[in-house]
């Protein structure tokens, strides 16, 4: 067991992939000489060279599209888009090419591309650098979307994603890079199909992903003090969603709260709430609760930013509402 960080886990995953398969290469802005804007790829260019660790110009359309083309032609590229905020520039390539070419070609072509992007708010970097647009990607048939929230997943999802014959988008919440934790020696690739129950409970199911998984776990600790035992699910995969794990839990606890840093309207939380309604309607003792970002572009000052995004106390309050009036 070694104590390490999320970003180190990401780096180790890259090293291993580059070593294992000569078709794997990384391209993106400042992934090479700069060492990665979040220091995730420090040292890789020195080890693997500029052919395999490619710094790109600020051309999201071209380098994401080139990643798709290279994957089409037999390589296994990892394209890093610095953050989801800049990914909108490349949305056409992702939605109109990566997600569709398999289908439009009648199954002739496969695009084994991995796209990684940082996401989320919390560092006072204001509206244009704080988006959580995972729901936009999770909306599109033709791609897989995953959100590693733990060190084991940061370490293990990359290789599984590279092996996948279809495009996989990996969202790394910017606040997680410095997360410290233990990784067992020899921990390797993990599945990217299932949600995980990280904390069993019987009174309410908290469903979260990414940084908000940790906020949900914190909320669970607070709720336990009031003798409400929350079961916490880490979604891990946002497309496809693991309905089975979610419904099994909700049938047991009869209450659910979804925590999602996207804005409430049209959020991933809305999709999950709809699925719970469809599949577990008769098992619910209360409506599904949602804790999402407020309907405001993320503001700069800390107190406003904190108020705009999900927090453990908001999760606790939402859960308590599901239990009716308390004395």
């Amino acid at each position: 067991m070694t104590t390490t960080t999320y970003r180190d886990a990401v780096r180790v995953a890259h090293r291993e992939a580059l070593q294992r398969d000569p078709r794997v290469f990384l391209m993106g802005e400042d992934v090479g000489r700069y060492g990665g804007s979040y220091a995730c790829t420090k040292g890789l260019i020195e080890e693997f060279g500029p052919e395999r660790i490619r710094d790109t110009p600020l051309s999201e359309v071209a380098f994401v599209g080139a990643g798709i083309g290279a994957a089409l032609a037999g390589m296994r590229p990892i394209v890093e888009i610095m953050t989801v905020n800049f990914s909108m520039l490349a949305l056409d390539q992702i939605v109109n090419n990566a997600a569709t070419i398999r289908h439009m070609s009648g199954g002739q072509f496969s695009i084994p591309l991995v796209i990684r992007m940082a996401t989320g708010a919390g560092r006072q970097v204001a509206a244009q650098h704080s988006h959580s647009l995972e729901s936009w990607y999770a909306h599109v048939p033709g791609i897989r979307v995953v959100a590693p929230a733990t060190l084991a997943d940061a370490r293990g999802m990359l290789w599984t994603a590279l092996e996948d014959p279809d495009p996989v988008v990996i969202f790394e919440h910017a606040m997680l890079y410095s997360l410290e934790g233990d990784l067992p020696e020899g921990s390797g690739s993990v599945d990217i199909d299932r949600a995980a129950v990280l904390r069993p409970g019987r009174d309410v199911t908290l469903i979260a992903y990414s940084e908000n998984l940790h906020k949900a776990l914190a909320a669970a600790e607070l709720l336990a003090q009031d003798r409400i035992e929350a079961e916490v699910i880490d979604l891990r995969t946002l497309r496809p969603l693991d309905d089975a794990t979610i419904m099994t839990s909700v049938r047991k606890t009869r209450r659910a709260v979804v925590v999602d840093e996207g804005w409430r309207s049209g959020s991933l939380a809305a999709e999950i709430a709809a699925r719970i309604m469809e599949q577990a309607f008769y098992d619910l003792d209360a409506p599904v609760g949602r804790v999402c970002s407020e309907e405001v572009p993320i503001p700069y000052p800390k107190h406003l930013e904190d108020a705009a995004i999900p927090q453990p106390h908001k999760i606790v309050a939402t859960v308590k509402n599901l239990f009716g009036s308390h004395g």
């Binding site: 599209g65 289908h103 002739q108």
Partner: protein, 337 residues
């Protein structure tokens, strides 16, 4: 220095082949007009009539191991690349026997066997793909090139500039072929580009470029041979601006309010098929029985393709969600989602 002009053997056999290829595209497109009017082909239909010299001339220099990326006006490229008229027509009808099992239609022709990567409907959307395919070739040490066809409209898109810059910066074997037919849908190039000499755009990215008469199939073939060889030898990109014209509207449903009939008639005088015919006749390389024979062969091939498409099958609705993702068993979750 290779004499590229001499690579092109302008003997009767070769010229007849060029003529046949262009005629084949012309008649195929004309039949599509009829089929579209009759409701057999639906959606959008973008015809290549008048531009045949570009696809036919270029494909003489593009080999089977090379890759081709093109646009939604791709029937000519598909036929010249060797995709069967049957499969192409079936695709236009939406039948399972089509190149994409009917899923793509006129704008999304793909063919793995001929390394034909679409059929891309977003203007300039295919250009980054071409850059990536060339990148893969370079990284794998393969000596093939990627021919990237696009129109004058694409020059305005950011994707064009990013792609040319990246291909030049990373020295990638992309042959950029701009089929400049002077109109981006209904907008004349003078109204869209501050710099209408498109070779200058390429040169600004340190890419060698030349302008070609896109109505002259031999000129196109010679220029493409030269350019393709250079890309192959140097591994660096090249830019051809083929100056051409489409005789019909942007797509079927276009009243062409943006250009005068006189202009169209003027360009029709340089119909690539008529030009080649005349040249061959003048050079005694075209005999009286040649054209009727070619027309008959081409008509028979197209009739056959239409009959094939008519007889084709509709894909069952039950297979609707096929080929969105790869089907595989994964733990408790099965199949594609």
């Amino acid at each position: 220095m290779i004499d590229h002009a001499s690579k092109v053997h302008l003997d009767r056999k070769h010229l007849l082949r060029l003529l046949r290829e262009m005629l084949r595209i012309r008649r195929f497109e004309e039949r599509c007009v009829e089929l579209y009017s009759g409701g057999k082909i639906r959606g959008f239909l973008h015809l290549y009539i008048g531009e045949e010299a570009n696809a036919v001339g270029a494909m003489q220099a593009i080999g089977p191991k090379d890759a081709v990326v093109t646009t939604y006006r791709e029937h000519g490229h598909a036929l010249a690349r060797g995709i069967s008229a049957r499969a192409l027509m079936a695709e236009m009808f939406g039948k399972m026997e089509g190149t994409s099992r009917g899923r793509g239609g006129s704008m999304h022709v793909f063919d793995a066997a001929t390394r034909f990567y679409g059929g891309n409907a977003i203007v300039a959307g295919g250009m980054p793909l071409a850059v990536g395919i060339a990148l893969a070739a370079k990284m794998r040490g393969e000596r093939n090139i990627t021919a990237c066809f696009f129109g004058d409209g694409a020059v305005a898109e950011g994707a064009f500039h990013e792609s040319l810059n990246l291909a030049s910066l990373w020295k990638l074997p992309v042959l950029f072929i701009c089929e400049n037919n002077r109109y981006a849908m209904g907008t004349a190039i003078e109204r869209a580009q501050a710099q209408i000499d498109l070779t200058k755009h390429a040169e600004s990215y340190a890419i060698r470029a030349e302008a070609v008469d896109g109505m002259d199939v031999v000129a196109v073939e010679v220029a493409t041979h030269r350019a393709a060889d250079l890309v192959r030898e140097t591994g660096e990109p090249y830019f051809l601006e083929n100056r051409t014209y489409r005789f019909r509207a942007h797509s079927m449903y276009d009243p062409e309010l943006y250009r005068s009939k006189a202009e169209v008639e003027e360009w029709k005088k340089r119909d690539p098929i008529t030009l080649l015919e005349a040249w061959m006749r003048d050079s005694n390389l075209l005999h009286p029985e040649d054209m009727p024979k070619l027309e008959a062969e081409v008509a028979a091939e197209i009739d056959d393709a239409v009959a094939f498409a008519e007889a084709g099958q509709w894909e069952p609705v039950a297979d609707l969600c096929k080929d969105v993702m790869t089907v595989r068993k994964v733990g408790v979750l099965e199949a594609a989602k």
